[in-house]
């Protein structure tokens, strides 16, 4: 007995733990484990779903970018998708009109239904799908054509107007809805690229609504704009929500709080929480959501 005690190696002072500092340690949220079969908290599913996503996974080559997302987007709803950079929210958004098809190594599994129709079905044609589900991009990307031609582009390729007067009407209506008509009605022949950044983005929105989509996807539409232009776009989103279903990805939590009805929080490719916007920003259900909206990481 004695001998075994003696054989025990002496405790080296190097190994001994430093004295515990009286800190309260917050677990680093980015490190917080989210299990592979994590189940979204809150209310991801709704009654009048326009879009219904079930078990959606997205891969870039070997790397998985989105994990098992289950989410509904209701008719005429504005849903905001927030989360830290690289959390998969933009990738997820781009699945909804199959823009990810343009990336060779991207692969999507699971089910995404628009009005009960599977959009990743082999018989689904992406051309009419993208006309139904329009998209506004992060950076304003007007075509190098006149303002008129920018808006008329969609109606022309889809044959929505047979006569010039019909086209004129679509262009005017779309520009009015995008809140740009008064600013540009005297110079419709001027190049769209000559407008200011905010005007360009509203031109892109006008271009999108000119093909009468049912859903508009917006991928950080204000991130390249100044605060005044941002305020105009946000106003516009509120107006458009009367007629369209809108899904918006944003880095600005204030923007999400101002424009959306429901908010979805993504973290490392997983949909953590979906709730009414007000609830997400006041009493979130998940600790990660709370950590993000209170600015502890982002």
């Amino acid at each position: 007995m004695q001998q075994t005690l003696e054989q025990k190696p002496p405790v080296s002072p190097k190994v001994s733990a430093p004295p515990m500092a009286p800190t309260f340690s917050i677990p680093e949220p980015a490190q917080m484990p989210v299990s592979a079969d994590y189940k979204t908290v809150g209310v991801p599913l709704v009654e009048n779903a326009k879009f219904a996503m079930r078990d959606v996974n997205v891969f870039y080559g070997e790397k998985q970018a989105v994990f098992n997302v289950n989410l509904d987007i209701g008719e005429n709803e504005v849903i905001a998708m927030i989360g830290p950079s690289g959390c998969g929210k933009s990738t997820f958004l781009r699945c909804l009109n199959r823009m990810n098809d343009t990336i060779d190594i991207c692969r999507v599994t699971g089910s995404i239904q628009l009005d009960g129709e599977e959009i990743y079905a082999s018989k689904m044609d992406v051309v009419p799908l993208r006309a139904r589900v329009g998209m506004v991009f992060q950076k304003p990307n007007p075509f190098p054509k006149s303002i008129y031609e920018n808006v008329a582009y969609g109606p022309k390729i889809h044959g929505l107007a047979s006569r010039r007067v019909d086209l004129d009407e679509i262009v005017e209506t779309s520009l009015r809805r995008a809140g740009l008509w008064e600013e540009v009605k005297d110079r419709l022949d001027a190049p769209g690229t000559g407008l200011s950044g905010g005007q360009q983005q509203r031109l892109c929105i006008a271009r999108t609504i000119a093909v009468s989509p049912e859903v508009i996807l917006m991928d950080e539409p204000c991130s390249a704009l100044d605060p005044i232009a941002t305020a105009k776009i946000e106003e516009l989103i509120a107006e458009l929500s009367q007629n369209y279903t809108i899904a918006i990805v944003t880095h600005s939590m204030q923007q999400a709080a101002r424009v959306s009805h429901r908010t979805a929080y993504f973290h490392l490719g997983k949909l953590i929480e979906v709730n009414d916007t007000q609830k997400v920003f006041t009493t979130p259900d998940h600790a990660l959501t709370e950590a993000y909206i209170t600015g502890r990481f982002g």
């Binding site: 823009m99 051309v127 329009g134 990307n141 969609g154």
Partner: protein, 465 residues
Amino acid sequence: MESSVLLPVLALLCALAFVAGRSRSLAVAGVGGMRILNSLPFYYGSLTAFWCALPSLAVVLIWSIFDGVIIENMVHALVPPAAVEAAGGNIGLVMNQVRNLAAGHLSADSVEPAIAAAADRLVALERINRWALTGVALSFALIGAILAWLKINPQLRARAKVEDIFRWTLLACASLAILTTIGIVMSVLFESMRFFSKVPVTEFLFGLEWSPQTAIRADQQGSSGSFGAVPLFAGTLLIAGIALLVAVPTGLMVAIYLTEYASPRMRNLIKPVLEILAGIPTVVYGFFAALTVAPVIRDMGVNLGLDEWLTISSESALAAGLVMGVMIIPFVSSLSDDVITAVPRSLKDGALGLGSTRSEVVKLVVIPAALPGIVGSVLLAASRAIGETMIVVMAAGLAANLTANPFDSVTTVTVQIVTLLVGDQEFESAKTLAAFALGLVLFVVTLGLNYFALYIVRKYREQYE
């Protein structure tokens, strides 16, 4: 020491000057070390080396421009007037004799003593000349190096001076290209003026018949050449037009396929093959056109019964044009490829997001946005087609036919320049000088085309950006 060792010795002196300058800068820096020097020791060394090399090289350059003339004049004085008269008053012939004798091509027995003396004098003068040049150049090198070495002190702005020298060197290189261009233009211009003093400009530019064979003696056949270049211009345009008809659509579609449709594997396969196409020597294209394509086209023309209405020749504009078109496909495709790839992805995404098909994206967004670059590449291809020589020499024939019939043989400006200047020519006849006039026209047209290309590119830029 002979002049052949001049350059090695000079190089050695420069190296020594560099080492000396560098170590002196360290020495004058003294205990304060490098910190008190204005520049790094390297620059002091370089400055000393430059002072060693540049004055000496300048002396060599100026010397070698003038020494020939001076020696010649000194030898002239020794040639007796009688010898000049014996050579028909042509001093050049006598001097040739002297030079040949001096170089050992002639034996001294075969010429007059006065000329042999002149040749000896020439040999002696040339030896002295070489010695003097070597001595003077090396003295300049030494003096320059020593002066620079003495001037080294911590306040000397050696780096700034060395960089100035580099800047002037760069400028000299840039001017070289410009001066060469000016030189070529001038030579072409002056020879053309001589041509136009023999043949009126209007006849050259608007005449419909080209037959440049002028007789050397009055009693020969066909003594009056005619220099109407319109058949040549027409032939050039016909062949270049056919080439562009082949190359532009094909090249553009290749570029569109590679950028918008092809899978990465296909792209990696096709691009290198196109580059091989661009690397084939034009002379190989030439015999391909002459031996393979031209007979096929002739037979095809005959089989289609076209020979009832048209002349069908075994050397045809069509053969040359088609092969030339294939040759310039890679130019059009790779230049267009670059400009199409440069169209921002966001534009394509925008169009796709509106529900465009791929072809709509290409037709309505990519091509309009890339148009300035595409037009530029087409005009560049046109320049290339107009200036191309080898294929046309081999496959299109030499007959200056004024015709729009692609099965007939035609000739081009470049082909005629080649045939006018190949072989023994005298530089006084209108026939030879005509080549310069044709060169001038070619130059003006190509310049105009390039200028026009730039204008188009700029115009579209303003509109689109």
